[in-house]
Structures are given as structure tokens and as C-alpha cells.
Amino acid sequence: DQLADIKKAGKIVAATEMHFAPFDMLVDGKYEGICHDLFTEVAKELGVEVEFLDLPWSSVLPGLEAGKFDIVNAPVTITAERMQRYSFTLPIGNATVALAKKAGDESITKPEDIAGKIAGSQKGSAQLEQLKAFSATLPSPVDVREYVNIDEALADLAAGRINAVANSMPLMGYAAVERPEVFALVMPPFGDPKYFAWVARPGEESASLIAAINDAIVKMHEDGRLEAINTKWLGSPPELPTTMPDAK
């Protein structure tokens, strides 16, 4: 049983790509962010030390499957397809789609304004699906560009090749906070509400671990730690369910 092993070792190893500000990021060489803070608290609840690994996204999930670490503490959007392959914890962040535009671009003031314009998003992300679905409801469709990383989408936005970038609201908001002279957040978010959660290997092995982590998350909901941490990074707390949401 994975939980027993972790307790015995006194240490849990969590991996992420420290590349999803404000959830996971390296600031002056130190790992920081919502996931860092939350998971540190969770580890305290479990009564074990925590070791964080930084891996490129392409080797995070293979590494999980190969057993190189215990859990992925990156913000992974919960989708039905993914639920079949991995075990998710309770939501730890809001993943609903929002747009970032170039600062000072008056032609976009609400999400519907991107009709007929060019928008970028990350390949294979749940947010990309949402963007496409949203585009279909508009009078003229959005020209959707797919990027391997969201960074490059933002770079292209800055370079003027595209008009907007669609990704989860916390990420877009943080970009706007970090470089207000270049990016601006377009409110409100759109599409179905989505959530971020952590993932572990599927199956019996990890069931007790997931349960223990979920207990910790619920406890943090109750005593306000979850809210405090989110507020610290996002300015305001998101609304998060304390039960597993339905994934479509």
C-alpha cells in the first residue's frame, strides 16, 4: 500500500513542472506557488516530509507511471478522459477558461469580442476544448492556434500575431498581474466550470493515499487554510467543491 510505504519512509515525493504560475513556479531559484503551499500543508497533515521534483511536463506523467515519485502536485484539469487513466484528488484550484489580451486592446472587452479574431491556447488542454466550443456559439468563428506551451502563446500575443490567449483563469490573471504593460485579463471567464486537482497512479495501491490527501484538503477547507493560501496568491479565493465534481 502506497500510503503505508510513504509513512514508513517518512517522506512523500511530489513532482511538478514548476512552470505554471501562480500554482507552481520558481522565484529566484526557489519553488513557490499555490500548489507548493497547499501540498506542504497536506504533507504536514500526513505527518511526512515532502520532497518536490521539477520535471518537464513531457516526463511528469511517464515518471509517475514508472514510479519515480508518488504524486503529481501540478494543477491538472479534471476531465473524464483523464479520470480513466489516473486517480485525482479533490479540486485545489479553479480551471475555468478566461482570456488574456494585449494591454490596451480596446476591441476586446468581453469574451464574445474575439469572434472572428485569432486566439491561442495550449495543445490538448481542457481549456482548448472549451475555447473551441465557445467559438462555435459565436456569430463568426475564432481562428484557434495551438501551442505546445502556454508561454509561446503569450509570446505570440506579445509579438502581435494573435489577439488573445485562452487558458485557466488563475494563469491568465497572473500573467496580467506580472506584466500589466503587456497583458490584460478579459473578464468574465466562460464555458463550463472546470477544476484543477493533483493526480496519483490509478488503482488500489494509491486509494488510501488519495483518501488521506482528500481528508487533509477537506480539513483545510474547514479551518480556512485553503482560502488563506489562495487569497495570498490570487487576491480572492475561488469557489471549490469539497466533493468530487462531475467530469464531462
Partner: protein
């Protein structure tokens, strides 16, 4: 366009700290690449058919399979057969062994350009293959192939960035991380490129010095 030197200055220490790992992987990888490359090259042109074939397989495997896959194999597959390498060792080995395949080919080309008479002279004197290679063939092959070898070593430095897939925070990786937080890819990447450039400049200058030293008279 607003180019922020402040971002570069602020993050330079972290880039430099990461460059240390890049340097370590590169230097160790180069040692493996050249040393192993010489032996593979020797095997590739040896008189024993099985050696030749083994070397050919080695070369076609390491040139043919993307390094990323090799690295994933070293790190994620070998544990399944009971060999659990530390990340650093896996990275150095993968980078070095892959590069050795290319080095071997470069040396083989260079050896063909050495007049056969020189080998004959050594043979006629009863010189053993070990000395023939050490004293006659390798020095001259290095001279002839030096520009290509420097190419290969520089590629090795750059390809060491793949070590990030096994969790090593080398230069490219850290640059990406910083980008993810500062949203200033251009500045950060230029700074990283500058560090790569300096490392590689040292290599290519050493290469030129070696080329001159190995030059005839």
C-alpha cells in the same frame, strides 16, 4: 519593445548556478564521447567481422533513436530490469554514449584520409595496434577531424539540456522556469543563450588551439 535588463540581472545567478550542471554533464559527456568514440571507431574498422557489426549496430542505434527516448530508457526503463541509475549518471551516460556514436563516425572519416603508407611503416616496424592508434592514427585523425569534433562537442553541450527530463535543473530548464514566472522569454532566453555561447566559445577556441598544435610543423 521593452527589453528588461533588470530581469536578466536579477535571474543571472540562478542561470549561472544551473549552468554548473550543464557544464558538469557536458564535460563528463565529452570524456565518454571521445574515449568511447575512439574504441567504437576502432571496432567499426577492425578486421573482426563481429566487432564491425557490433559497432555498426551501436552507431545505428544511438544515431537512430532520439536522445530523448534514450534518456527515458536509461532513467525509466532500466529500473524495470533492476538497474536504477541516479539521474545525473543516467544523463551523463546517455549524452556521452549517444555522442560517442557520432564521434566514432567522424574519426572513421578522418582515418580514411590518413595515407595508408603511414600505417604500413608502423606495421613494418612491428608496432602494436595500441601504439599505432595512440601515436600515429589518433593524433592525426584528431587533427583532420577537429572542426567536426568541435561541432559534435558543441552539440553535446546543447543537447545536455535534455537532462531536464530526468529532473536535473540545467540551464535550459531553469531558463524555462524563469520564463514561466516572469513572462519575459526573450530576455531570459537571450541570457541563457549567452551562457551557452560562452561555454561553447571556450570549446571552439580550445579546438582551434589544438588544431594549431596538431598542425604539421
Amino acid at each position: 519593445m521593452d527589453f528588461s535588463f533588470k530581469v536578466i540581472l536579477h535571474n543571472l545567478p540562478f542561470l549561472l548556478a544551473a549552468a554548473k550542471w550543464t557544464l558538469l554533464i557536458s564535460v563528463a559527456g565529452m570524456a565518454i564521447s571521445i574515449f568511447l568514440g575512439i574504441f567504437i571507431c576502432a571496432a567499426r574498422i577492425s578486421r573482426a567481422a563481429w566487432l564491425r557489426r557490433a559497432a555498426a549496430v551501436y552507431i545505428s542505434f544511438f544515431r537512430g533513436v532520439p536522445l530523448l527516448v534514450q534518456l527515458l530508457v536509461f532513467f525509466y526503463m532500466l529500473p524495470h530490469v533492476g538497474i536504477d541509475l541516479p539521474a545525473m549518471a543516467a544523463a551523463i551516460l546517455a549524452v556521452g554514449m549517444c555522442s560517442a556514436a557520432y564521434t566514432a563516425e567522424i574519426l572513421r572519416g578522418a582515418l580514411q584520409a590518413i595515407p595508408a603508407g603511414q600505417t604500413e611503416a608502423a606495421d613494418a616496424l612491428g608496432m602494436s595496434p595500441v601504439w599505432l592508434w595512440r601515436r600515429i592514427l589518433v593524433p592525426q585523425a584528431l587533427r583532420l577531424g577537429m572542426p567536426s569534433l568541435v561541432n559534435e562537442l558543441i552539440l553535446l553541450v546543447k543537447v545536455s539540456s535534455l537532462a531536464s527530463v530526468v529532473g536535473i535543473g540545467e540551464l535550459t530548464r531553469v531558463a524555462q522556469n524563469i520564463t514561466g514566472q516572469t513572462y519575459r522569454p526573450l530576455e531570459v532566453y537571450i541570457a541563457a543563450a549567452a551562457i551557452y555561447f560562452l561555454i561553447n566559445l571556450v570549446i571552439s577556441q580550445l579546438g582551434r588551439v589544438a588544431e594549431r598544435r596538431l598542425q604539421l610543423n
